[in-house]
Symmetry: C2
Subunit: 296 residues, 2 copies
């Protein structure tokens, strides 16, 4: 049994979630702070960690974006061009490091949540797992043997192009870059822009949910065909509607149409497309996984 | 300088290409045989290798599919349910091994071609590269650090769903499983089914080429966002039209719309989406790469 502790920070656009521990079974402290200004919020974060710093070996950070994760870039560790007031061009990694003086490793929020799920959560027994969040934005992280897949850049899979039947859904899409990409058609803001109300307030029997499930299923089919994950874990607000997982699973099978002769896709889809195993702590615990496994 | 030689076989639905050597600069012998029956074609293949077998350390095979590449499967090394006469349920790996008596390693044709390009061809300096073929079918292999990415299954990225504007192109798609998936809209047979003539005979100024380039670009954008390759190498008949690469590159940039702030995507796309560096030998040489790097 190790006494080593780690800090985890899930930095989101609404709140910063912080945790001290070394896994889901040993959480020493936990807190959340509203995302106001970098000085105020990061100040609260550092104050929270202060009593534990003698035991903390290092800190992991999962940040909202756009966040520069390229160590060779001059803006590595910066939140770059976000429209969020006060946070544009913020050297969040540097500010934390200056105050906390321990090794800090950072990655995109969704990648870090994927690491948490792969280490301790729903995909802990899978070498290749996809973590997707469908909420205010849509993003994904692909974890291979405990490490995020990354090539020329980080993955930006929320913006893939999917079929859009304009007779069924005449909305032109809400993505400022791509219009009707997956995020533009299916993320929270697109629901509100289309229907004039937030998805949370939309009744379960509203016909839009079937359209939404169709977009999600098209995207999942593309990820399955392009990446072949062994597990797909989906977090974020949209999937919290009870009926969403069963509907999406059924539509994925319909779209694949038995093309891939694999037992899990054909007969065990309930175990394949699943909610997070760590509940609301995927991001925080993932941040701990990130620093624990970083070699720092 | 090694004297070790290897055999490479690119087994296609039309012909089997065979090579002896240990790289593009040392090709000892090369031949091709029509794909007739397994007994006849594999007999010719084995006769071709016979004079070199005392020097050959092992043989790599890239096979047309559906080809079972899962070593834990009872039909590993089989061509399974192909509609091609004589070749259904053929234990191609076993038949070759029985006659040649050296280690033989096999994978899907497109994956093997990707390995060849990654070792000696257009993507030889890239740790993460995508190889795509667009011809009679559409398939892709993703090579990470010299090994094919594989998870629950092999990748089946030719069948992803992409936007299909039925006002622009009323064709319903030719894929027997998915109708208007990428392969169903853009592979050779779909061109012929739609226009009543083969793509090769279609004039360069036919308006369909712009539609075709649009489908290819949508798919490439999805692969870029989902996999982030450092290089995309595209083989197969469709891209051999001179104007196709420039058109596709331009459309990919238009669709990405500067969303990813990366110098290569923004300003060096000519070096990013490229034809094979090994010309018609990607598959044969890839088969040699497969066995050389297999540890057999």
């Amino acid at each position: 049994m190790t006494d080593k502790l780690y800090g985890g920070i899930e930095g989101g656009g609404t709140k910063f979630n912080c945790i001290v521990g070394n896994g889901p079974d040993n959480i020493v402290a936990e807190a959340r702070f509203p995302t106001t200004t970098p000085a105020e919020t990061l100040g609260q974060v550092c104050d929270f960690f202060a009593p534990y710093m003698s035991q903390i070996q290092g800190i992991g950070l999962g940040s909202f974006g756009p966040f520069d994760v390229d160590p060779s870039s001059p803006t590595y560790g910066y939140i770059t061009t976000t429209p969020k007031p006060h946070w544009g061009n913020t050297h969040i990694l540097g500010m934390l490091h200056e105050k906390l003086r321990v090794p800090i490793v950072a990655d995109m929020d969704v990648v870090v949540a994927g690491l948490g799920e792969a280490k301790w959560g729903a995909s802990k027994n899978n070498s290749h797992s996809l973590y997707l969040t469908i909420g205010t934005g849509i993003g994904g992280g692909y974890i291979v043997d405990g490490r995020p897949l990354r090539g020329l850049t980080s993955l930006e899979m929320g913006h893939i192009r999917i079929p859009h039947d304009r007779e069924l859904d005449s909305f032109q899409g809400a993505c400022p870059y791509h219009g009707d990409c997956f995020e533009g058609l299916a993320a929270g803001p697109s629901v509100e822009a289309r229907l004039g109300q937030r998805g949370e307030t939309l009744p379960d029997d509203h016909p839009f949910w079937d359209v939404e499930a169709g977009y999600i299923s098209s995207a999942l089919v593309n990820y399955i065909l392009s990446l072949a994950p062994q597990k797909i874990v989906i977090g974020g607000g949209v999937m919290q509607k009870d009926f969403m997982f069963p509907t999406v699973r059924k539509k994925v099978q319909e779209l694949l149409n038995n093309y891939i002769n694999n037992e899990i896709l054909l007969n065990k889809i309930d175990e394949y497309i699943v909610p997070p195993g760590l509940g609301g702590r995927s991001g925080m615990l993932g941040a701990i996984a990130l620093i624990m496994d970083s070699g720092e």
